[in-house]
C-alpha cells in the first residue's frame, strides 16, 4: 500500500472527528431538549385539563409554591454534581423556619436572617466536613443530619409553632406580596437560579465542582483542594435550605418544625428529572429549574383537575416515570 493511501486515511480521521462532534452535540442538545420537551408536553396536557391552568394567577401560584423546592434544588444540584447527595435539606429548612421565627424577635431583620442562613451553612459544613475530609458516605451522613436537624428544630420550638409576632411583619409582608407582578419568593428563586447559573458555568468554583464529580482524583492531582470544594457544596446546600425555610415562615407567618418533611425526595427528584446524574459530573442549572417546574406543574394540574388524593400519588408516580423515560429516551433507543 502506498503513502498516498495512508494520507487519504489521515484525512478521513479528521473528517470523522468532525462528524463525531456533530453527533455528540446533537445528543447533548437532546439531553437539554428532552427536559424542555417533557415540560412542554406537560403544559400542553395540563392546559387541556383545566382552563385556569394557564391563567396568570395560577402560574404565579405554581411559581410561589415551588420556590422553596427550587431554592433547595440549586444546592442539591451542586451536591449531586460532586457525586454526593444531601438528605438533610428538608430538616434544615425546618430549622431555618423555626429559628427565623425565633431570632426575628430578638434581632433586627437582616441580622436575624444572616444568623439563620449561617446556621444552615453550619449544618451543611458539619455534613460536608464528614463527607469531604473523613470520606464518609454522604447518604448516611446527611441522613443522620436530617434526623438531628429535625430534632434540633423540635427542641428549639419546643414542638410548638413559633409566632414571630409583630417583629415578623416585615418578613411576612415580603413573603406574601408581589414585585413587578411576581410573588417575591419566586423572584428570590429566580435570582438564586441566575447566580447559580453564573457560578456553575463561568466561575472557577463551578467548573471545579463539575470536574470533581467526573474525576475527583484528576482534580486533586491538578493541585486543587478537592475536599474544601466538596465541603463547600454542602455548606451551600445547607444555606439555601435555610433560606427555603425562612421563606416558609415568610409565607405562612409562623415558624414550624414540621416544615419540609420528605422534601429531600422532591428536591432530588426535581434535580434528576432535570437530567442530572447521581453519579456526578452531569447536570445543569436551567434544566434543574425546569425539573422543579415539571414537578410543580404535575402537582398543580392534579389539584386543578380535582384528582382525588390517593389517586394523585399513583398518577404522580406514573408521570415521574414517563418524564424520566423521555429524559433518558435517547440512551436506550440507541442500544
Amino acid at each position: 500500500m502506498t503513502d498516498d493511501a495512508a494520507n487519504v486515511g489521515g484525512h478521513r480521521a479528521t473528517d470523522s472527528r468532525a462528524i463525531t462532534e456533530g453527533r455528540l452535540s446533537a445528543r447533548r442538545i437532546f439531553a437539554q431538549f428532552g427536559t424542555f420537551a417533557i415540560f412542554i408536553v406537560l403544559v400542553l396536557l395540563a392546559s387541556t385539563q383545566s382552563d385556569v391552568f394557564l391563567s396568570e394567577r395560577n402560574i404565579m401560584n405554581v411559581l410561589r409554591q415551588m420556590s422553596g423546592i427550587g431554592i433547595m434544588a440549586i444546592g442539591m444540584l451542586f451536591v449531586v454534581l460532586t457525586r454526593g447527595i444531601d438528605l438533610s435539606v428538608g430538616s434544615i429548612a425546618a430549622l431555618g423556619a423555626v429559628s427565623s421565627a425565633l431570632l426575628i424577635q430578638q434581632y433586627p431583620l437582616p441580622v436575624a436572617i444572616g444568623m439563620v442562613v449561617a446556621l444552615g451553612a453550619i449544618c451543611g459544613a458539619i455534613s460536608g466536613f464528614l463527607v469531604a475530609f473523613l470520606r464518609l458516605p454522604a447518604f448516611v451522613i446527611t441522613l443522620a443530619m436530617m434526623t438531628a436537624a429535625r430534632g434540633f428544630a423540635l427542641i428549639l420550638s419546643n414542638g410548638q409553632p413559633v409566632m414571630p409576632g409583630a417583629d415578623g411583619a416585615p418578613l411576612s409582608a415580603f413573603g406574601t406580596s408581589f414585585t413587578f407582578g411576581f410573588p417575591n419568593p419566586a423572584l428570590l428563586m429566580f435570582a438564586l437560579f441566575a447566580v447559580a447559573f453564573l457560578v456553575l458555568n463561568y466561575s472557577r468554583f463551578g467548573r471545579i465542582v463539575k470536574a470533581i464529580g467526573s474525576n475527583e482524583e484528576a482534580v486533586r492531582l491538578s493541585g486543587i483542594a478537592v475536599s474544601w470544594h466538596v465541603m463547600a457544596v454542602y455548606v451551600i446546600s445547607g444555606a439555601l435550605a435555610s433560606i427555603a425555610g425562612i421563606l416558609v415562615t415568610a409565607r405562612s407567618g409562623v415558624g414550624s418544625a414540621q416544615v419540609g418533611v420528605a422534601a429531600e425526595l422532591d428536591v432530588i427528584a426535581a434535580v434528576v428529572i432535570g437530567g442530572a446524574s447521581l453519579m456526578g459530573g452531569r447536570g445543569g442549572v436551567i434544566n434543574t429549574f425546569i425539573g422543579v417546574m415539571i414537578l410543580g406543574v404535575i402537582g398543580n394540574i392534579m389539584n386543578l383537575a380535582g384528582v382525588p388524593g390517593y389517586h394523585q400519588q399513583v398518577y404522580l408516580g406514573v408521570i415521574i416515570v414517563a418524564a424520566v423515560v423521555m429524559q433518558h429516551g435517547t440512551s436506550f433507543l440507541r442500544r
Partner: protein
C-alpha cells in the same frame, strides 16, 4: 484453513467509519500481531471478532465456516476469548470467581473452584492465591487472571489487546513466554501492542491497520521497525527520540535526601538540576511512582528532607506542590490525569486559573487565547477546544495533561510513564516536548518502563529496586543489562546479607 477469518469487515459508529473493508486471518498455532496508531481500529476489529459488536458488512468465519456471532457468549462458546485493553475483572470478587465468572455452577463449591483456579494459574507459571480479591492484586497479576480466564474456557483463539501497556519489562517478558507456550499448544493468538520490540520478538505475522483499513501484512524477518512505523504513521520517523537541544545544566532545583515513605519505599536521595532530564528506572513495583507522588504531595512522607530552590519543601497535598512549582504527569492518564468528559480547554487551564479569571470568574476571551496558544505550541490534534477530552486519541489526551502543566509553568516536572499506550507518532512529539521543557530550564524526572525510552531521553538514569534507590547510570553505561543488574542484583545481594 484459517482458524478464524475476518473478511471485508466494515463498522461505523453513527456515521463514522471505524473499519472499512478490513481483512484479517489467523492460523492455529500462530501469533498474529496487529499494529496501528491510536484509533486505527484495532480494538474495534477485535470486538467484532469477539461478538461484542456486529459488523455493518463483512463476514466472520471460524474454521472456514461463516458464522453470525450473536454476542460475547456465542464467541466464547466458539473458542474465542478477548483480553481487553480495559481490564474486564470484578475487583470485589476473588480470583477464582473471576476466572470462572461466565460458567459458575448454580451451587458453588468453593474448594473445587479454588482448586481448579490454582491449577490454571500454576499452568501459567504463577502462584496467586485463588481466594484473594482481584482488587488486592497488582496489575500484572490481574493480567494473569485474565489469561487464566481465557484458558478456563479452552479458548482456541486468544486476543491480547495491549497486555503489556501496564507491565514492567520483566513481567512483559514472562507474558511473552506464556504466549509462546500457548502457541505451542496450538492456540491462535492475536497480539496488539504499541511496543514494536515485542512485536518483533513474538509474532509470526504482522498486520498493519491505518484509519480503519488494512495497510499490509508482513513477516518480522522481512520488515524493519522503520518499515512498520512508516506503514502505521504514513511517514518515516527517522529520529524517534529526537535530538536534545544543547542546554546548560544549571543549579540544583530539587534535592531529595533520605526520603522514606510509609509504604516501605525508602532510602531515596537524589538531585535534579535546571535543564536536566533524569530517568527513574526499575521494575514495576519498585516504588518509582510512589517517590514521584510523595514529592508531589499526593502521598504522605514519613521521613527525609526535600529542598526546592534550596529551601525546605514538605508538601502535604498536591496543591502545595503546585503552588511551589512542582508538577506531576500521573501514570494513569484516564484515572488521574484528565477529566475525560470535561472540555479540552477546561482541562488545560484547570491547574492554573489565575491568568484567565477575574475574581474567580473565567474570562472567555483570555482563556481562549491561552488555550489556542497551548494547542498550537503542543500541536494537539483536535476538533474543537470545547469537545470533551474523551474525543481525543490517547496520545493527544496525554498532550492535554502536558499542556496543563505547560500552562501552569512549574520548574520541576515529574512524568510518570508519559508515553503509556501512546502510538509511535505521538510518542516522538511528546519526546520533543520533553526536550523543549528542559531547554526552558526546567528539571524533569521521567519514570518509564520502556528502557529504550529512558536511555534515549535522559541525561542520567536513577535505578530503583524493591523500594530503594540502587544506583545511577550515566550515558556511557546505558544498557538494559546494567539497569536490571542494578535493580535486581542489588536486591538479591540484600537478601543474601539478610540470610547471612
Amino acid at each position: 484453513m484459517a482458524l478464524v477469518e475476518l473478511d471485508n469487515i466494515t463498522k461505523s459508529f453513527s456515521g463514522i467509519r471505524a473499519l472499512s473493508g478490513v481483512n484479517f486471518a489467523l492460523q492455529a498455532g500462530e501469533v498474529h500481531a496487529l499494529v496501528g496508531e491510536n484509533g486505527a481500529g484495532k480494538s474495534t476489529l477485535m470486538r467484532v471478532l469477539g461478538g461484542e459488536m456486529r459488523p455493518d458488512h463483512g463476514t466472520v468465519s471460524i474454521n472456514g465456516e461463516p458464522v453470525r456471532l450473536t454476542g460475547p457468549i456465542d464467541a466464547i462458546r466458539r473458542g474465542i476469548s478477548i483480553i481487553h485493553q480495559e481490564m474486564a475483572l470484578a475487583p470485589d470478587l476473588s480470583v477464582a470467581e473471576n476466572i470462572f465468572l461466565g460458567e459458575l455452577p448454580a451451587r458453588i463449591g468453593w474448594g473445587e473452584l479454588r482448586r481448579k483456579a490454582r491449577a490454571l494459574i500454576n499452568r501459567l507459571g504463577f502462584d496467586i492465591p485463588p481466594g484473594a480479591l482481584v482488587s488486592e492484586l497488582s496489575v500484572a497479576h490481574q493480567q494473569v487472571v485474565e489469561i487464566a480466564k481465557a484458558l478456563s474456557r479452552e479458548a482456541r483463539v486468544i486476543v491480547f489487546d495491549e497486555p503489556t501497556a501496564v507491565l514492567s519489562m520483566g513481567d512483559a517478558q514472562r507474558l511473552l513466554d506464556i504466549i509462546r507456550n500457548l502457541r505451542a499448544e496450538g492456540v491462535g493468538i492475536v497480539y496488539i501492542s504499541h511496543r514494536l520490540d515485542e512485536i518483533f520478538a513474538i509474532s509470526d505475522r504482522i498486520s498493519v491497520l491505518k484509519d480503519g483499513r488494512n495497510v499490509d501484512v508482513v513477516t518480522p524477518d522481512k520488515a524493519t521497525v522503520d518499515d512498520l512505523i512508516r506503514m502505521m504513521v504514513g511517514r518515516p520517523l527517522s529520529q524517534m527520540f529526537g535530538e536534545k537541544p544543547p542546554t546548560t545544566i544549571g543549579d540544583v532545583l530539587l534535592k531529595v535526601t533520605d526520603l522514606d515513605l510509609p509504604n516501605g519505599v525508602g532510602g531515596v536521595s537524589f538531585e535534579l538540576r535546571k535543564g536536566e532530564v533524569v530517568g527513574l528506572g526499575g521494575l514495576v513495583g519498585s516504588g518509582r511512582s510512589e517517590v514521584a507522588r510523595a514529592i508531589f504531595g499526593a502521598d504522605p512522607i514519613r521521613l527525609g528532607a526535600i529542598e526546592l530552590h534550596g529551601k525546605p519543601f514538605r508538601p502535604r497535598n498536591p496543591k502545595q506542590a503546585v503552588a511551589r512549582g512542582v508538577n506531576l504527569v500521573p501514570e494513569d492518564r484516564k484515572g488521574q490525569g484528565i477529566v475525560l468528559d470535561m472540555e479540552i480547554a477546561k482541562n488545560m487551564t484547570m491547574a492554573k486559573t489565575g491568568p484567565v479569571t477575574t475574581l474567580g470568574f473565567f474570562r472567555a476571551a483570555r482563556e481562549r487565547k491561552v488555550v489556542d496558544g497551548l494547542i498550537q505550541s503542543l500541536r494537539v490534534k483536535l476538533g474543537h477546544p470545547s469537545d470533551p477530552v474523551s474525543s481525543l486519541s490517547g496520545g493527544n489526551q496525554q498532550k492535554i495533561v502536558l499542556a496543563k502543566w505547560f500552562h501552569s509553568g512549574g520548574d520541576v516536572v515529574l512524568l510518570d510513564e508519559p508515553t503509556r499506550g501512546v502510538d509511535v507518532g505521538a510518542k516522538t512529539e511528546i519526546y520533543s516536548l520533553i526536550h523543549r521543557l528542559a531547554a526552558e530550564g526546567k528539571a524533569l524526572l521521567i519514570i518509564s518502563s520502556e528502557h529504550a525510552e529512558l536511555f534515549g531521553l535522559c541525561d542520567r538514569v536513577l535505578v530503583m529496586g524493591e523500594g530503594r534507590l540502587r544506583g545511577e547510570l550515566r550515558p556511557d553505561d546505558y544498557s538494559e543489562e546494567n539497569l536490571l543488574t542494578l535493580s535486581i542484583g542489588a536486591a538479591a545481594q540484600d537478601r543474601q546479607e539478610a540470610l547471612a
